[in-house]
Amino acid sequence: MKKWLRRHETYVFLVIVLFSIIITSQNASFLTLENLFDLLKSYSFLGILAIGVLFVLISGGIDISFTAVATVAMYVMAIATIQYGGNMLTAFLIACSVGVALGLINAVIIYVFNIHSIITTIATLNIFYGVLTVLSGGKWIYGFPTWFREFADRRVLTLTNEAGVQYGLSTITLIWLAILIMAWVILRYTTLGRGLYAMGGNPDSAARVGFNIFRLQMFVYAFMGFLAGIAGVIQALLVQTVAPNSIVGKELDVLAAVVLGGASLFGGTGTLLGTMLGVALIAVMSNGLTMMRVPSFWYNVFIGLIIIISVSASAYRRRQRERRMIAVEAE
């Protein structure tokens, strides 16, 4: 019990439960399977990007450029798919290769020239996005093939509500789940995953115990790019159009979700459970406000307050912990 109380995740979970109770008391259709499946589908995009950002934060870096990477991947995928056809697998393969390539560019600049990751990725965000917008002329892309449109509506599990409308667990949610399991295995059971925590905690020590820092960096930014590629395809699936400005500008929203989940910007800490709870908190908040008929312009006020309270609480608990440690040392 005491162990649970010390964890950030517990508090986020309690807040989600509290919000859910309040929202349900106002509008009973919040706590239905239909709404849940709906949220799980529409928040796959944020959820997948959040996993990538978590990896980068654990490794002690930060990535701002992933929104531009996702946009570029989405564009290349859309043009190739519409021009040459293909199937869902090739669409994902194309987008992910683009994502990995751009991620590797970030990693090389950060490592070889020793430039801080936030600065590198702010620069590459502008470069990727700028070049894309110039080359594409800022045009929107419509007219995906039929199979692409059908895939977006495919469900693993189909139910029918009282009004006769079908709903269910979307395939897109399964992709999110698969990535989540993969990420969990990497972080928990592989040397690679432990290396990320080690590097985030202290890069010099990690290098001395034998971790290849350059390889870890390459992996983490390539993985972020890979997930940005997948997220780009999912965004295209969800809205069925490709616009140059539909993703760029959301980078700090994703960062906020990960931070709400308790990941630290100093590296070496952060859990997938926390990150997913952070995404869930944002999903419940924004969906709940709509359900309670609160005008949507109140949304940022609530999210802002929650971020401030959450980071203040973490800071307070960190200081308490430090104080305890100093007291122990003094004895």
Binding site: I64, I109, F113, N114, I115, H116, I118, I119, T120, I122, A123, T124, L125, N126, I127, Y129, G130, V131, T133, V134, G138, G249, L252, L255, A256, V259, L265, F266, P295, F297, W298, Y299, N300, V301, F302, I303, G304, L305, I307, I308, V311, S312, S314, A315, Y316, R318, R319
Partner: protein, 328 residues
């Protein structure tokens, strides 16, 4: 041969001359006309003052992600007072008094925001990027709630002068920027607070044990940062002749880009106002030059990114070269 800072300033100066010559070459004589110089002098101050607001927090190894959101909120406060109380019937003197009052209210808002950021960072001990990420979202939210997402437009004439007027051939926003930059330079180089700001950025623990009240210095840093965002807000609403919750959002990452290009270290402790001004001039030359060639603004963004990485690479290589010579 050269100290690190001197060599970085030199690189930056060379880039500026190079960019100037290149743009001159590409555009011909139309690049150095009075009209073009003046339009550059109108455009630079907004990003310039916001970059000063960003830079001072980066010197303490912090960051202020909330500057654009605070600027918009301050602009909205000022614009709301102006549009509500200044009518065509109000007399000259009364209008002036209301304008001064409205601007004072806007700047007061920015000071309060600065204190809020400062309190979260200095007293609650939240890391600056998280604290200001939170206040950024909150302030943006408040701005949307206050305006319901609409534009507040139609400001009285004296306010429009601030952003669009010309005094002795120099645009008023440029004069305000020069004053802001000079004050910032004096503050950083000639006052105790300035020295403490650099010290906190280099080593907060050493600074604390040297008898500096770190919390007070950080409070003042974020207060000044907020105030500068407020000043930028007044210029912004005056130039747009309106205020809105989401103006200038793309400026946020650009202020970091400008600061870093100007030699400000993200790890804190290093950075000079003069280099930041050179960096801003480089960015403005590229932007105006490409604009005259009718090249897309987005390519300008890409080129700004490329310049930033190139300058960082050159600095890294020269520093390694110097280190190797020292060890040899």
């Amino acid at each position: 041969m050269f100290s690190r800072e001197y060599s970085e300033s030199l690189t930056l100066g060379l880039v500026m001359v190079g960019v100037l010559l290149l743009m001159w070459l590409l555009n011909g004589s139309q690049f150095v006309t009075i009209g073009n110089l003046q339009s550059m002098a109108f455009q630079l101050p907004e990003l310039g003052i916001l970059s000063l607001a960003m830079m001072i927090t980066m010197l303490t190894a912090g960051i202020n992600l909330s500057i654009i959101a605070s600027a918009n909120l301050c602009g909205i406060v000022t614009a709301l007072i102006l549009t509500r109380y200044v009518t065509p019937e109000t007399a000259g003197a009364e209008t002036m008094a209301l304008v001064v009052l409205a601007i004072a209210a806007g700047l007061l808002t920015s000071v309060i925001i600065g204190l809020l950021n400062g309190a979260l960072i200095a007293i609650v001990d939240v890391s600056p990027i998280l604290a200001t990420l939170g206040t950024m979202t909150l302030l943006n939210g408040v701005a949307i709630v206050v305006t319901k997402g609409y534009v507040i437009s139609g400001l009285p004439e004296p306010v429009r002068f601030i952003g669009n007027g010309v005094v002795l051939g120099i645009p008023t926003p440029m004069i305000i920027f020069i004053v802001c930059a000079a004050v910032m330079a004096l503050l950083l180089n000639r006052t105790r607070l300035g020295v403490n700001i650099y010290m906190i950025g280099s080593n907060p623990t050493a600074c604390y044990f040297a008898g500096v009240n770190n919390a007070a210095v950080l409070m003042k840093t974020y207060l000044i940062s907020g105030l500068y965002a407020g000043i930028a807000a007044i210029i912004m609403i005056s130039r747009f002749n309106s205020a809105k919750a989401d103006y200038g959002e793309s400026y946020l990452l650009l202020t970091v880009l400008a600061s870093v290009l100007g030699g400000t270290s993200a790890a804190g402790g290093f950075g000079k106002v003069s280099d930041l001004v050179i960096a801003l001039i480089i960015l403005q030359l590229v932007s105006s030059g490409l604009n005259l060639l009718q090249i897309s603004n987005f390519l300008t963004l890409a080129i700004w990114g490329i310049i930033l990485i190139s300058v960082m690479v050159v600095n890294h290589v020269t520093q390694q070269y110097r280190e190797r010579r020292v060890t040899a």
